[in-house]
């Protein structure tokens, strides 16, 4: 079977390996993500979770292995091309443009005018404004559009970054610890937001908060030292003795 061409999966990762000076941060990893699935990757610190996301979105180049998104080989594509293919990625630390307003932050992510020329002639028309307002509403920032992003709270920045992904409407959304560092109230609102946005797309989430994971996960992948330790439903994973050992031994 040519796994790369299998239309049943949105994302296929096969035999993925990356090494830094001999240290294999990800080692022969394979997993498959189906349409509308919410895959949560968990694992102790240093398990290689973030590196996996880096590999998928092109930030780090694989030493060997395959990554296919809807039949396209991502390992040969530039970051921006991967985005255009429909993969969105949120970083662990909120990454927004602090010198720009919330509105401008969202506007930059609006999927039009990606080339230099396109960006030069880009016009802020009614359609753009309407869409930005819509997204701003979803991420609880509709009354802060003219504020500079620098003054937002940590949680608001996380939302803003999620909003910047949403406006692109990606088919595969990758979120790296979306609720880390949030207050309880923010965390609740974020869970609500995530539940809404994962409905009609595939999502990969890295998260430590098990309650949160149980809440959203379709399937869970457990990584340990760059390798797949266990995979399956939340209940399956929690019952797996290897997982228990890693977490207790940790």
């Amino acid at each position: 079977m040519n796994a790369l061409a299998n239309p049943n999966f949105v994302l296929m990762v096969e035999g993925l390996t990356v090494s830094f000076d001999g240290f294999k941060a990800v080692n022969d990893l394979s997993f498959y993500v189906e349409p509308n699935e919410c895959r949560v990757i968990i694992g102790p610190n240093g398990a290689g979770k973030t590196t996996v996301l880096d590999l998928i979105c092109g930030r780090t180049r694989a030493t060997s292995g395959k990554i296919a998104f809807k039949g396209q080989d991502l390992t040969q594509m530039r970051e921006d091309q991967i985005v255009h293919a429909g993969v969105g990625r949120k970083f662990q630390n909120p990454s927004v443009y602090e010198d720009l307003t919330v509105f401008e932050n969202l506007e930059i992510s609006y999927p039009r005018g990606y080339s230099v020329l396109g960006a030069l002639v880009f016009r802020r028309d009614a359609e753009v404004t309407a869409r930005i307002r819509e997204i701003a509403g979803m991420i609880f920032l509709d009354d802060m559009l003219d504020e500079r992003a620098a003054i937002l709270s940590h949680g608001q920045k996380q939302w803003l970054e999620i909003g910047m992904l949403l406006i692109q409407d990606p088919e595969l959304l990758m979120l790296d610890e979306p609720v880390a560092g949030m207050s309880v109230a923010e965390r609740r609102k974020t869970a609500e937001l995530l539940n809404r946005i994962i409905a009609d797309r595939s999502v990969i989430v890295i998260e430590h908060d098990m309650g949160f994971v149980a809440d959203i996960a379709t399937r869970v992948t457990v990584l340990h030292q760059g390798k797949m330790l266990s995979e399956g439903s939340m209940a399956h994973v929690q019952a797996d003795p290897k997982v228990v050992e890693v977490y207790l031994g940790h």
Binding site: F20, D21, F23, A25, T51, D54, R59, T60
Partner: protein
């Protein structure tokens, strides 16, 4: 171009050309070590590096006068005193500069570049006001200016040997300090994670100041040594700055070993090309090659591939 020469002549020439390359290599290492410490370990661009070197040269000049006047009997040895004083003078100035200027700019590396360029202009003018606009002649002890005839054809310049020995000694000292001393451990710790290093009790301010001082001090020693082969004037320092930076960047900024390797590569390339081409073209081609390779491999020759 080799027709009409005997094998022994050719052999002698190649031996001497190889030696010339080694001298150039030593000169590059001496120039670059101080900068490699400062740039590699602290991320600071010190455009006044050449002026710190010239400070060492002027110290040598003054010490030579003191010895000539008061200790003519020991004149043959003044050079060693001069190098120690050059290290101290350049090091102290470096620490003062770190305290007054650099420590405020650690988060803005490009701004250190501009500020230290300003510093270099100021130092040049100070040298000019104190020592005059003309070059000063530093008298080198006779024993250092001769040469050792190995065979009829091969002569080895003693100052070349001196520079090489000095280079080995300083490189070894820097190596020991960086990798065997507590200070070196602290420097490397700060380089990797400034906040964490501070949290575990390393006095980052003191270590920074010391590091900058040592880097400048090494530049001062290099300047003292270069009075043997180059000129000492207010603007002489600028002659070295581009070569020096290229050596450090080409080697991979964070790696002392890389600096040495890149000095070796560049010096050999330049020395060989100088022999076959005209001097100007050799220089241009060397620089072009270095820039070209840097474009292909911006992290330099010896940078580690790090997990971001």
């Amino acid at each position: 171009m080799f027709s009409g020469y005997s094998m022994s002549e050719l052999g002698a020439i190649f031996a001497m050309q190889g030696f010339a390359g080694l001298i150039l290599f030593s000169v590059f290492v001496l120039m670059a070590l101080g900068l490699a410490i400062i740039f590699g370990q602290m991320g600071v661009i010190n455009m006044a590096h050449g002026e710190f070197m010239i400070l060492g040269a002027y110290v040598t000049y003054m010490v030579s006068h003191v010895f000539q006047t008061w200790l003519p009997g020991l004149f043959g040895l003044y050079f060693f005193v001069a190098m120690i004083l050059a290290f101290i003078a350049a090091g102290l100035l470096g620490m003062a500069v770190e305290w007054a200027m650099i420590r405020h700019l650690y988060k803005r590396p490009l701004d250190t570049l501009l500020a230290t360029w300003g510093l270099s202009l100021i130092l040049q003018q100070i040298y000019r006001s104190v020592f005059g606009a003309r070059e000063v002649g530093v008298t080198i002890p006779d024993w250092m200016m001769g040469s050792l005839p190995l065979t009829d054809l091969i002569e080895i310049p003693i100052n070349g040997i001196f520079v090489m020995v000095l280079t080995v000694a300083i490189s070894a000292a820097v190596y020991v300090m960086m990798f065997r001393s507590r200070w070196g451990q602290q420097v490397r710790a700060i380089n990797q994670n400034r906040v964490m290093a501070g949290a575990v009790g390393i006095d980052t301010e003191r270590t920074d100041r010391l590091t900058f001082g040592i880097g400048c001090g090494v530049a001062g020693v290099a300047g003292a040594a270069f009075t043997m082969i180059g000129s000492t004037g207010p603007t002489s320092g600028q002659l070295y700055i581009v070569d020096t930076f290229l050596v450090v960047v080409f080697g991979g900024a964070a790696s002392l070993l890389g600096t040495i390797a890149s000095a070796f590569t560049i010096s050999q390339a330049q020395s060989i090309m100088e022999f076959f081409l005209s001097g100007s073209m050799a220089k241009v081609l060397t620089l072009l090659a270095v820039v070209g390779i840097l474009m292909l491999r911006p992290q330099g020759l010896f940078a580690l591939k790090l997990r971001k």
